[in-house]
């Protein structure tokens, strides 16, 4: 990218005004609280209406990867990047398996965290703690990678006027302030603004790029010359990988602890149902648009390497702004939307970790703590987690950074506890626990074994390590509980 800043001073001022306005939203959340309780703080009093719920689900589900990663992938791989549209839709199909019942159970038993459901269902502290720890590690990794991304985006956009370190510190501070002020209320309301900005940003950027460069129809003949490989259908190994990607991403994302908290927060089941019905179509106006932007980019700008291809959207916008100076505001909008997408994901993950540590770990050790003490502990934990995440994001050497890419592979291993646990009473905590241990061990062995040089592919037979883990995880469950399951089937 050029060393000239993408954002001029006005752009930087606008961006920071927007960012600091989020603290105002946090204050609104603080003054709207009904009581000092974990339920009110972490689930917005379980009264989230349709509009807010939909936008907070949307903003949480679509991270900075949507704005940057998906178009970069499309630039490099062409139409096979359409798999991203499929897995974003598939996630909602998986919610359908468990969300209706989990929402009802959460109302009946006042769940706050995923751990609450696990403990209620399996009556096992061991299982609850293991699932909580896996959730915390996966969410922590999510926060770290997103913080790092936000640092690079702002440093790149301001050509170093705001450094990588300062960008991470300022944005983390803003997030932790509004999160600890109003909890889920503040996070959901800021998500609402961020979701609108993301949606509006994607649609406007897509429309202008599509219009200016002539759309897919117009560029397809040029693409057939520049990138004939885009027209080649995936071979058998790529098709297996396509299926594996859909499964590993949709299963992992569908059990995000912060998404589960939004299921608990819904005002009623009808509100939740309508939000999910709308969510299933959002990949067609978000993911698909960014994939097309990447493909249009491939027809206009050739020869970008992996890192530079991640900036294809912004390169197209810069190219357009040079031809049509009036639309340079689009660059500000793109950056604001990308930052909004990242922040809405990080703040939700932070809230989920804070609630998990407070409710599933601290409360188990100190069951007599009052709601005020628990709240104080939860808010303090948010600051500590953010501080640790900032230090790690700034200082971690690149050599161990790979370890923090492990998220979905871990989350996949807790999926059977939720999907099967919600519907099948005869599944025991013992089988779920052994399944998690086996699945996690297999997934981590494949990934780490590959990284340290063992002759094992990162995706054996075109299947992700997390999915191999999940296959053996489920096999363990069904083997251990086979007799109980047989009687269940007979009873049914």
């Amino acid at each position: 990218m050029d060393s000239a800043p993408l954002l001029n001073n006005d752009g930087i001022i606008f961006l920071f005004l927007y960012l600091f306005s989020l603290i105002g939203v946090g204050l609104l959340g603080y003054y709207s609280k009904k009581e000092d309780s974990l339920g009110d703080f972490y689930l917005a009093g379980r009264g989230m209406g349709g509009f807010v719920l939909f936008l907070t689900l949307y903003a949480t589900q679509y991270s900075g990867n949507t704005m940057i990663g998906f178009s970069g992938r499309a630039y490099r791989q062409g139409f096979t990047a359409l798999v991203t549209v499929t897995f974003m839709c598939a996630i909602i199909g998986l919610y359908f398996i468990y969300a209706p019942k989990l929402h009802d159970l959460s109302r009946k038993h006042s769940f706050i965290t995923l751990g609450d459901f696990i403990y209620h269902r399996f009556q096992s502290i061991h299982l609850t703690i293991i699932i909580s720890i896996i959730s915390i590690i996966a969410l922590g990794n999510y926060i770290l990678t997103n913080l790092k991304a936000i640092g690079f985006i702002i440093e790149g956009a301001t050509a170093g006027q705001v450094s990588f370190v300062n960008a991470i510190i300022i944005l983390s501070l803003i997030m932790v302030i509004y999160e600890t002020l109003g909890g889920m209320r503040s996070v959901a309301w800021t998500d609402m603004l961020q979701g609108l900005l993301l949606l509006f940003g994607v649609i406007v950027i897509f429309y202008i790029i599509y219009e200016q460069y002539g759309g897919l129809n117009a560029i397809s003949s040029q693409l057939q010359i520049n990138r004939p490989d885009f027209w080649t259908p995936p071979d058998w190994s790529d098709k297996r990988l396509w299926l594996s990607t859909i499964l590993v991403v949709s299963i992992g994302v569908s059990v995000y602890p912060h998404a589960i908290q939004r299921i608990y927060s819904a005002k009623d089941s009808s509100t939740l149902r309508k939000s999910l019905q709308l969510m299933v179509f959002m990949p067609f106006v978000t993911t698909l648009f960014m994939v097309i932007v990447g493909i249009v980019g491939a027809s206009q700008i050739e020869g970008l390497d992996r890192n530079n291809s991640e900036q294809i959207s912004i390169l197209l916008l810069v190219d357009l702004a040079e031809k049509i100076p009036n639309i340079s505001w689009l660059i500000v909008m793109f950056l604001a939307a990308a930052i909004a997408a990242i922040m809405s994901t990080v703040d939700s993950a932070l809230l989920a970790i804070s609630s998990t540590v407070t409710q599933d770990l601290f409360r188990k050790i100190k069951p007599d703590s009052s709601q005020k003490e628990l709240l104080l502990f939860g808010k303090s934990i948010s600051w500590v987690i953010m501080l640790v995440a900032v230090i790690m994001a700034i200082n971690l050497p690149q050599t161990i950074w790979q370890l923090f890419q492990i998220k979905l592979e871990l989350l996949c291993q807790i999926a059977p506890a939720i999907f099967l646990g919600v519907h099948i009473k005869s599944i025991s905590s013992k089988s779920i626990l052994i399944g998690i241990y086996i699945g996690t061990l297999i997934a981590l062995s494949i990934m780490i074994g590959n990284w340290i040089g063992f002759p094992i592919p990162i995706k054996p037979f075109g299947i992700h390590a997390g999915l191999w883990g999940l296959i053996f995880n489920c096999l363990a469950i069904f083997t251990i509980d086979r007799h109980k399951l047989k009687s269940s089937i007979k009873l049914a």
């Binding site: 139409f79 839709c89 897919l216 149902r273 009873l491």
Partner: protein
């Protein structure tokens, strides 16, 4: 269903700017989304029902 399993040969044809196999993947994803929309509407209460618990 959404994976373009049956497309093997490269054809430089396109519909609406998409290669045929990509259009198939996109269209089948749309069908999937419409189905999930319908299932959420029609079977939400069944999925939520205590009766689905197998004792």
């Amino acid at each position: 269903m959404t994976v373009p399993w049956f497309f093997i040969n490269t054809k430089m044809e396109s519909t609406g700017g998409f290669p045929n196999w990509a259009l198939y993947a996109l269209f089948s994803t749309l069908i999937y989304a419409i189905s999930i929309f319908y299932f959420l509407h029609k079977y939400w209460s069944i999925s939520a029902s205590e009766k689905t618990l197998k004792k």
